[in-house]
Symmetry: C3
Subunit: 359 residues, 3 copies
């Protein structure tokens, strides 16, 4: 398949757990609920694909897999699986799952940081409290951190939903929240992120679509960002819609009508297993080819990073093979398309960052 | 196919019409609108599959089918089609379509009752009026009926939508409604159902997704149940999301993140005909294998019960065959999966009922 | 394929640009955003299918295609592509893209007018201002124009969304808007259109689903029309839901439960390219066969009219072939189905117009 050897830029993922995990701990990280389970599309995919990558037969039982995994040790497993992804650039959301140094020790390739707006703001609040001047302190800290980052990330979808009020100025009062949930504070924070992103050339990533049960899925529909996207069009900001399922067609529409909007399927690909190609096909109905990027959203288990890459290769590869067989695209154009999604689009969007002198 | 001989538990269906039906009467029951039609996916499926089950050639014209049906007599048709489903356990929502005794006379296998909260409550209101103490009477009646049931069902989606207010106490005033539509009364009633369900081990079934035009489809999106599901997590209640189309991916997400949530495609399977496998594939992207159950939602026409079973077998069977051919799952694991969806999951969830002593 | 030679009624399209277009101008018309792009499903389809229709090799580069297009001249290109569609009846929305005379000069077949409610109303406002009696003037003008039209169209989805207030009487005050956006004025205008449509036998077309970024996609979900559809059921009005993607399953549900509702995929088919059949398959899950019509929504580029027809033929043709191969439908029934969607349903719905004497 055309996707077999293509190098990937995983433009949104997290670090991995390198301690030992029992079955309960492993399954917890294999789902977005309180407990995941091997009895699911992603569970089948772990047994089918990760087992052979660790020199086990395909489809071994969960217990055999986990015993072997424990025997190898979590660091060895992580190093093997992460190196088998074919990813050469990793952009790590350090808001959860550890920092870049730990991750860099496990992988080949470049590791850069994506900073999470809420994490930075909450750290400042924890340090200084809800004092007068806290907004200025948050802005100063974000600017300082942005100087060393490749991107910004917001999880406002988890906090008040994507229908946050878009506002240029912070509210006059600041409730002393150590976990930000006030829509007006969050709306200001995201607006600040958008301005800093435009200024520094840092794309702003939004969690959209499914995630853990802290989320109200209805409030993570990327269409709720329509007004925000209208306001940020032409400002120089690039927006990355992450994950998107089951709203991936909605995200594709936004990427179609707004030039500064990009998207990926992130978390979706490892989770839907065998269905990765079908979800990609729905996305490509309207998403411009310049807009789709690759990420795994891998977190905790290196199996997620590995399955993200493997299932993306298989799903997109098979889809493109069908298009070629049906004479809908030439092989040469298909190669261009595959390279764009695999790494070219991300390189173009994030490269802007390197062309901005940072104060 | 692996699904060919597997026995089914139809955990949500209704009784059938055993009088004669003219074409207009038959088509009315073949659609959710004021008039259904043979000119639809389900109409093609009746001619393709029900005709041979009644010893006619496949694809006979609607009029030939209906003449033959009248000649056999509706009871004979029902007995033949229902017995050909391979269903060994039927859980009958007696809120519409008749009771368990009539149905048991037509089928092999066990027939148990699912009681409809609104039907029980409205019967009490019709008897006693909106008097002081009506809430207590409703609760007493529900408890008495629950002692003999395997499950509870609510059609709150049809009345005020799934965004009902979750409340523990009834409103102080009770408008004398013979058809309950007050969101506060309904919110209390569903909450009461949840408590009784947890106490007696009775799963609580929700109509979600498409249905007749009494429904506002937007208000039957199961995601509107998110807060209710958060509140009932860990209480011992099991929730069954029925039908779900076109929100089956939303339901799959809820089943993924909440351990006490299960789902089926119910009504969807007979209606979408040839597309049953495609809708199942979308559902299995995220639904844990422990969460998916089988039902036909058959009502009025035994053709619906029959097509539910047949199209489910064909749709899931073909999908699983593709997974096996693609080496995504072993045949042994596929058999476990098929048995779980066909009857195992329902047996586990509803079995709790038999383990609760009832006062 | 069964769809190969079938004649089409394109019941909703627009005129074409007959001046020369540079690449930027062409791509702008190839997308719904500020800029379209050849790097998209529709761009691949232009190169694959329109190039050979203009005697170029399939898959030529965009620049070669555009140079050849300029050499032929836009009128010649339009005449060739429009005549190659197999469309014999064109119903032209003259609210944008020019009038019927210009279009008739380019095509074979009948060209009739669909009048756009907002365009007619805004023309009156521009002429007379927001004077007392403006509502009566709008109604008189609509009635005069309706006498010569085959249908009515509303773009209320673009103005205040499909959740407009349904009202029989105009608001007492009329803000002097030259571009109508007041939901109460628009609600009255749509209601007026519904009454005139019922009276004259003119179907009322609604833009629903995706379109340019003036739209809030969430507000163009056809389910928002549920109350309007309940009110107009049985009044004699026929409603046509246009485009619908990504809400085509929602539209199919409405067509299932309301006898006076019809739908097409319009704009969707040329845009999704290779995926036309997949979107049609999702639609036919619940849409009654009497309800689905064909349109291209072609606007500006005759490539859109051509791709609409060609991709519809290929997509539906392949889908129906699969159904026949799977013995889900007989060839004879499939022919009836294809003819109904291609032209029969539109002829039946719009024919009512010719049976109404117009005062």
């Amino acid at each position: 398949m055309l996707t077999d050897g293509v190098r990937l830029t995983d433009h949104h993922c997290h670090g991995v757990h390198t301690g030992n995990l029992d079955r309960r701990g492993f399954e917890r990280l294999l789902g977005e609920g309180a407990h995941g389970s091997f009895d699911s599309a992603i569970g089948l995919a772990v047994r089918r694909w990760c087992a052979p990558a660790l020199d086990l037969p395909a489809h071994v039982s969960p217990d055999v897999y986990l015993r072997h995994r424990a025997r190898l040790g979590a660091r060895e497993v992580a190093a093997r699986l992460l190196r088998a992804t074919g990813v050469t650039r990793w952009y790590l959301d350090t808001g959860i799952g550890g920092g870049t140094a730990d991750f860099a020790a496990l992988v080949d390739g470049e590791v850069r940081e994506v900073i999470r707006l809420e994490e930075v703001a909450e750290r400042v609040v924890a340090q200084v409290g809800a004092v007068s001047g806290v907004y200025e302190r948050i802005e100063a800290e974000l600017r300082a951190r942005a100087a060393h980052a490749v991107g910004l990330k917001t999880i406002v979808a988890y906090r008040c939903g994507l229908d946050f009020p878009v506002r240029d100025h912070p509210p006059t009062s600041f409730a002393p929240e150590h976990r930000l949930t006030d829509p007006h504070v969050l709306g200001w924070l995201v607006g600040l992120g958008a301005r800093i992103g435009a200024e520094f050339g840092l794309p702003l990533q939004f969690h959209t679509g499914f995630g853990d049960p802290d989320l109200r899925l209805r409030h993570s529909d990327p269409l709720l960002l329509t007004d925000f996207l209208r306001r940020t069009a032409g400002t120089g900001l690039s927006v990355m819609l992450l994950h998107c399922w089951p709203f991936h067609r909605h995200a594709a529409y936004l990427a179609h009508v707004f030039d500064h909007v990009h998207m990926d399927l992130g978390l979706t690909i490892p989770y839907v297993g065998q269905r990765a190609g079908a979800v990609l096909a729905e996305t490509l109905e309207l998403a411009p080819f310049r807009a789709l990027c690759y990420s795994s959203d891998g977190y905790g288990l290196p199996e997620l990073h590995y399955l993200g890459a493997l299932l993306w290769r298989r799903g997109l590869g098979k889809l493109i093979d069908e298009w070629i067989a049906d004479d809908a695209i030439t092989t040469a154009d298909a190669e261009v398309l595959v390279n764009a999604i695999a790494h070219g689009n991300a390189e173009r969007v994030y490269r802007a960052r390197f062309e901005h002198p940072v104060g």
